[in-house]
Symmetry: C2
Subunit: 302 residues, 2 copies
């Protein structure tokens, strides 16, 4: 299971009743935070989730509304007595930017490691999840993130027996271990059925709609995507500022055949995003006009 919380839904500036866009996911005791604007630590406290298990923070880009809350969050994690290292992932220069912000957050009781994204797309693993980071199209370098959790096939007793594998190895093989004994090599595929559908979560904000998003979001169980403007006549503004309308996000969701779309990153000029729900659902019915704190447990099928 992956727990996902969209901590905030605002773009540009935090508002009295709308935190800035950021997402936390929790899996297997680890937490991963994507973006951390001013107030994200408060949104997290409202949610009731601890900052201590945050093992990774991924930044889409370095506009203040996505990173200004970092010094406070680091201190908050320190106050929660975190001592394990923290990995911070972000576009080129992430170490320089974070260290510059740390002028007011020097004393923290854990190490910070950096992973700088440089390519158009990069794949890596954190906390047992596969991550794909890919360049999107904003007015500064910006990345989208897709997190996936693979799911192995069921244990197949007949297959294991047919391969002549002793029962004492079954459990280790089922858990994914490769075993070498007496010059023989046993691999998990010898005891497992076809791999099953896993979980996939995509987070994209501050971008025009581009093919990379469709490519990586394809088949996502949840697609969290920016929708800066609900008003159809703001398309030109969306293009100018390298953002999207609700309808552009919905078209991406449709093309990528995701299960569900959560809109976020609303313009401060948009007090009631829900007013455009009907129109956007005509493009992609399973669209949610998210509110701060929206949470879901992504579960394996069956």
């Amino acid at each position: 299971m992956i727990e996902v919380c969209l901590l905030g839904t605002g773009g540009m500036m935090p508002l009295p009743k709308r935190w800035l866009t950021s997402m936390m996911l929790r899996y297997n005791g680890s937490s991963i935070l994507v973006d951390c604007g001013e107030g994200t630590q408060i949104a997290l406290k409202e949610k009731g989730w601890s900052p201590k298990p945050i093992d990774v923070i991924c930044f889409t880009h370095f506009h203040a509304d996505h990173i200004s809350g970092l010094p406070g969050m680091l201190l908050n994690m320190g106050n929660a007595e975190r001592t394990e290292p923290l990995l911070i992932v972000g576009p080129r220069g992430v170490g320089r930017v974070v260290e510059s912000l740390r002028v007011i957050a020097r004393d923290i009781p854990f190490e910070i490691k950096y992973k700088e994204l440089t390519g158009n797309e990069e794949a890596f693993e954190v906390c047992g999840l596969k991550v794909e980071a890919y360049k999107v199209c904003h007015n500064i370098t910006c990345y989208g993130y897709t997190f996936s959790l693979d799911r192995a096939g069921k244990f197949d007793t007949e297959k294991a027996k047919a391969a002549g594998i002793e029962v004492k190895y079954w459990n280790r093989l089922q858990k994914g271990e490769t075993i070498e004994e007496d010059g023989k090599v046993f691999t998990p595929d010898m005891v497992l059925g076809e791999s099953r559908k896993g979980l996939k979560l995509t987070y994209c904000t501050d971008t025009r709609p581009v093919n990379a998003i469709v490519k990586h979001a394809r088949g996502s169980d949840l697609f969290i995507c920016e929708g800066m403007y609900g008003e159809p006549d703001k398309l030109a503004k969306a293009k100018e500022h390298k953002h999207m309308t609700f309808y552009e996000a919905a078209e991406l969701a449709k093309e990528a055949e995701v299960k569900e779309l959560w809109l976020t990153h609303y313009s401060p000029s948009l007090p009631n995003p829900k007013a455009y729900a009907k129109a956007v659902k005509e493009i992609f019915p399973n669209t949610v006009i998210s509110k701060d704190g929206r949470t879901v447990d992504l579960l394996f099928e069956e």
Copy 2:
């Protein structure tokens, strides 16, 4: 008249229902902000006051809870189309600290000027108000601020006539101008009665109680002072972390003979500061256990 709003009352970290301690005062079209922690821009929006006329930001010190909201506030002021220069006042290194934080707030449409405080006490003027900044006692360099507005005496017709000053000069002299004509010098004191009581406002946070506070706060109309802990048994903790209990703040207020004390900068461990109101009022009756957004208009007497 000076309008004063205590935008937040929290110390250490912002909480869902408590913004970090900061104060804004408005006088004669200018706004002065003292401290700007994470979320201060939201507190200001809740108050309904504009960020555009902020001509001066004074920092007591560089702990994150007093300055982490600066990048967002600067961008906010830029979005409000401010173009006039902004003066930022703070302890030694203020320019370096602010420029480091500005790694995420480079593009703002106004100039930032710095005034670095270096002495134990400094006096200067901003926006028509006298300011005294003085070192207090925290675990890093920290300053208290006292703002005062002098009030000239009433115009005294008899005195002006007795001094043989022509009526055509009266208005200019009343407004404070010194006039030289035909080898004669006329000064405002020649037409004005004794100067009257002005207004005085003192803001002190993140410090142990020290004499400098009493000295500068003396006779203040309003004394906004930290009270990190309400529980009497937290005195040792207050000493250790260089903060004050409510009772120490009240003793300062009493000794400095201020008119009113507003407590602020409550510890996150203190959910209900009002529980200690009775005990603290026994020391200084005119104490207010402030809540976020508390506002007053300081008015001249009569």
